[in-house]
Amino acid sequence: MSPALPGPTMARPATPGPDTAGFSRLLPPAGHPDDLAAHLGRHGPVPYRGGAGRLIADVRAAGLTGRGGAAFPAYRKLEAVAAAGQGRAVVVGNAAEGEPASHKDEALLRLAPHLVLDGLQLAAEAAGAARAVLYVRRDVHAATRLDRHLTQRLARGLDRIAVGVVPAPPRFLAGEESALASRVGGGAALPQFTPPRVFERGVDGRPTLVQNVETLAHLALIARYGPDWFRAAGTPEEPGTMLCTLRQADGSVTVAEAAIGTPLASLLDLGPGTAVLVGGYHGAWIPAPHASGLRLTNTVLRPLGAFLGAGVLAALPADRCGLAETARVARYLALESAGQCGPCLNGLPRIAAALADLAGLGGRRPDPRVLADLSRWAGLVEGRGACHHPDGTVRFIRSALRVFAAEVRQHQLGRCSARSSVPFLPTPSGPSTDADWS
């Protein structure tokens, strides 16, 4: 099912072409989807290296990191799977995109599908994989388009390994690596206890390389144009470009490609905003005046308790209540808990309910001890899940209590400074049944 949102539109890049350090490496310059002919015209055939492992040195030299959120060095996973795989490894391109505020993977697959599919072939070759899978958020139209692209590629002899498409359930945690491995192996998309890690024992017990589809698209460009070209954009510590989903205070949503290190103020219109959400629902709020002086890098954001994540940036409109936004997202995150681990199962609903009371959404007056309760529950869920869902949720909520501290005091006195109660951040109402994890 397709989201009932207006489709993300493309920010027009200023300087097109792969030879520039501009903003249109991944996305076609004109904003129209690249079909196979246009893709081959722009980038040429898949630059296979003729053996496992050969591309890894270039990926390492380029400094490519995972664009799904964790920013883990791509070469290290490739090396680990190539070493453990013995030719039986599985490679999965991850486009689960469970984050409701993110549209960049969907946009990339729609506009530059062949760059992703090239990257999947090249990663499969580098890892010596026996199986390649594309794990894509469940969407009939996207699946039909992908089937058509894959058929064309097979007919043209572009793909050396057949690619299977596995639908991902529209759940926040569907793209978590161990949940992905479980789902692709035929089970439910539920996070698993680790170790073993997915790169050691993932899909069907085989060493499994999971890379976000944007990471694969960058890899396909590095294989063609080289590490130096890749490093011509970005910062020395964090090279390259990244796709961002930009949610402006006026409600518009765009997907844009930006060099890492770009000033946040050139991506978001921060004029009337009160705060910026960086890194999505496992990310952190930053006050707008502070954010306007920051750059799009983890080096800058990490000391502030934030991180780039999968590139979600949202400027909260000045007429909304950051506490109410946080409470609605907290409720969504609590409902998206897989419910497997006691602390997450018990803690997130309590945290969400207390925040709803504090925000004035719960129909109850907040308990006088609400801040002490929130602080204690946050400490009790952090680090105690099989996956990082409780940790990310706590990071998001703590940042809200910090950044909206003045609003918290207003609410404790029964007041709210917002002039509009229309929800800003998307919080899907969730699946019809608790069992919808496949």
């Binding site: 996070p191 206890f193 006691g342 602390p343």
Partner: protein, 67 residues
């Protein structure tokens, strides 16, 4: 050879037996799930720790040798 206790939070269903057997290192949170002290198991508690691992009804407790 220092060993650390680790709980598999998916397997754990909060029986609480571990906290009875090894109160020096394991307490229960307000929902009945174990909170494990962030430290290696001291030699004097090794026997109790192994007992807590083997007696866990959910087989959710592990004793891992630290590297």
């Amino acid at each position: 050879m220092a060993a650390t206790l680790r709980v598999n939070p998916i397997a754990c269903s909060g029986h609480g037996l571990c906290a009875e057997l090894l109160p020096e290192l394991i307490t229960l949170d307000e929902w009945g799930y174990p909170v494990i002290a962030d430290q290696p198991v001291p030699a004097r508690l090794g026997k109790q720790a192994r007992r807590a691992v083997t007696d866990c009804p959910a087989l959710a407790l592990r004793l891992a040798t630290a590297r």
